[in-house]
Point group: C2
Chain length 408, copies 2
Amino acid sequence: MTYRIDIERLRRDIEDLGRLGVDPAGGVSRPSFSRADLEARSWLKARLTEAGLAVRQDGAGNIFGRLEGQGKPVMVGSHIDTVIRAGRFDGAAGVLAGLECLRQVREKAIPHARPLEVAAFTDEEGSLTGDFLGSRAFTGQLNRELIERGLTQIGLPLAEILKGTGLTVESILETGRARPEVEAFLELHIEQGPVLDEEGVPLGLVDHIAGKRYRICSFIGRASHAGTTPLELRQDAFLGLADFALKSTQHVATKHYGSLVTIGKVTVHPGAFSIVPAQADFTLEFRSASGGVLEALDNELLAMAEDIARTRGLSFLSKVLDATEPVAVPARILDILKEECRRLGYPHLTLASGAGHDAQIMSSLTEAGMIFIPSPDGISHSPEESVRGEDLEKGANVLLAALLRLAA
Amino acid sequence: MTYRIDIERLRRDIEDLGRLGVDPAGGVSRPSFSRADLEARSWLKARLTEAGLAVRQDGAGNIFGRLEGQGKPVMVGSHIDTVIRAGRFDGAAGVLAGLECLRQVREKAIPHARPLEVAAFTDEEGSLTGDFLGSRAFTGQLNRELIERGLTQIGLPLAEILKGTGLTVESILETGRARPEVEAFLELHIEQGPVLDEEGVPLGLVDHIAGKRYRICSFIGRASHAGTTPLELRQDAFLGLADFALKSTQHVATKHYGSLVTIGKVTVHPGAFSIVPAQADFTLEFRSASGGVLEALDNELLAMAEDIARTRGLSFLSKVLDATEPVAVPARILDILKEECRRLGYPHLTLASGAGHDAQIMSSLTEAGMIFIPSPDGISHSPEESVRGEDLEKGANVLLAALLRLAA
């Protein structure tokens, strides 16, 4: 028997949720525990309740809606928080597709053995103390140092932001201890990249989720007068960074094709027209679907930076700020997703996810898989983010079919 | 007859002036019309008066001390304003060496035909509306747009800063109309670079002063997700800048040896770990002692940037923020300085000044020359700036001898 989700109802849900946190500057701004996010949480709980699901929230603010069954639950979900000036689909599409699946199961009384749960994880986007607060708390991967170590992105201590939410730093830290066992986890998400759109394929089945390293780094040289210091006597920290940016990109592109390196933030000191830069601070992130490559990159890029520093009379400093490990989607999950795509007649391809997702975090706890739908022009984290209804419909239908296989 | 300055008296003056504007964070902070600068102005006028000079101040706040004579005056001077956390010698050494020369002339009743004037020009360091406000006003090179176009570096309109000084925007603009004719201008200054110190030569005679262009520029690409955008599909604005920084430096070092290019300030947007940079804003300054090379550099560097932008799918924007033209020191002045060095038995070399100076601005009005003394380790614009007493003494003795030749 083949079941289908109601794409019109799913689209309406996405539109309704997208009205919470509309940013006057464009797009949607709904970082975790902002007023808009609190509204969205109430809205979601009301929808889960309407759908006849048992609603609960854990100590990290993760929200669950459950259909009872026997044994460990099969879980589906994503997140409803957003970055600033986001689109309406990153995260929301996954949570609301999960809700629509469970609605179908209940309304049509579709047989299933295991419990089914839809989850919305707190702060996937990392507005508070780093990515994946909710799923990391759920899977017991947080520690006090990590969540207390500093201000949040909006400049307040986490404890301050939690006031009035009923949550505390303690309750977040204890979330992992109380977690239920989970049979499997599925997440539908927009690709956030251009591959599916360029290939003209409506569905992507994720076989690996890339791991990443976030490093903060500095080249340190010596400030000098830009009018009086000959080029060959300079210790220009910015030229060290420029050299590293080009060489590291070239290295990854040629030696580790498919892995990624990005320098996204740069600050030059003292930062004036006529002063040769004494220091160039920058963020360095690199990602790979292979743990071996990630480890190699860490060694190779740091050696490259040290070498550039030596050659240019600079010094180089670096420390890891955050890290996630690459995840391979288990064959059982990937096979089920492939079989259901074929059964439904949907073109699909397998691909690696460069972005991190709650499914990656959940894979420490259970077998986790992901369905991607195309991001037109590869755009996400932008008011211009979009999805095509027919892709979303196909994705949600595969999600439903796979959930039923896993919960059978 | 050979006259000598009193180095002990000159050193005391420099020490006394250096006590005005001591910065708790280190060094001296005495930007024009700060409280410390107003104190320094009073202090200087008192020293000029004590020395028996006729003191006047023009509409731009330039301060002059004069010994009478016949015909157009021979002028000597520099500035007493500083950058933030400066040393005690940049500018001050030139003004106080000039004062010491005129004191010698008066005390020893040294014969001279022309009037002799020592000048301290306002805001050489450009804390208000750009470099050389005082000497530009004196030589009639200011316009209303330039001095009204924005806030000063300390964030107030110029008119606001001038309150209580007796000066106005009008009086600054009118300064050039009332200026006297000048026979010649000499300036003693610290080199602010490493050449004399590295060569172990106590005096540098400047044959050219470099001109410069200050441009603000941007490479503009497209933001995208650092985890999902393949390297070959990125339009990374920062990599465009990195490419340009290395190529432009290489180009100047190989094709225009002796000219300089500096990227001193960089801002990357949006500036986050996981977002491929959409825009890289930066300052570009280049300097050359040759007007032809300066013009060529302007064309070549911009063409290079356009080419890099095209290759990398970026666009490039640039505009000139400020410009000074290179100046050749007239043979008459340079010959007099060389002859007096030889007569006094002082080792010297000729060199170009990469930094701009009031003498450069004054050269639009009269024959101008400069004497450099070594900056140990090339350090200036720093609390660690220093001079050796014996170098300063030699420089001031040559200054006195040359002034007397020009005023004969």
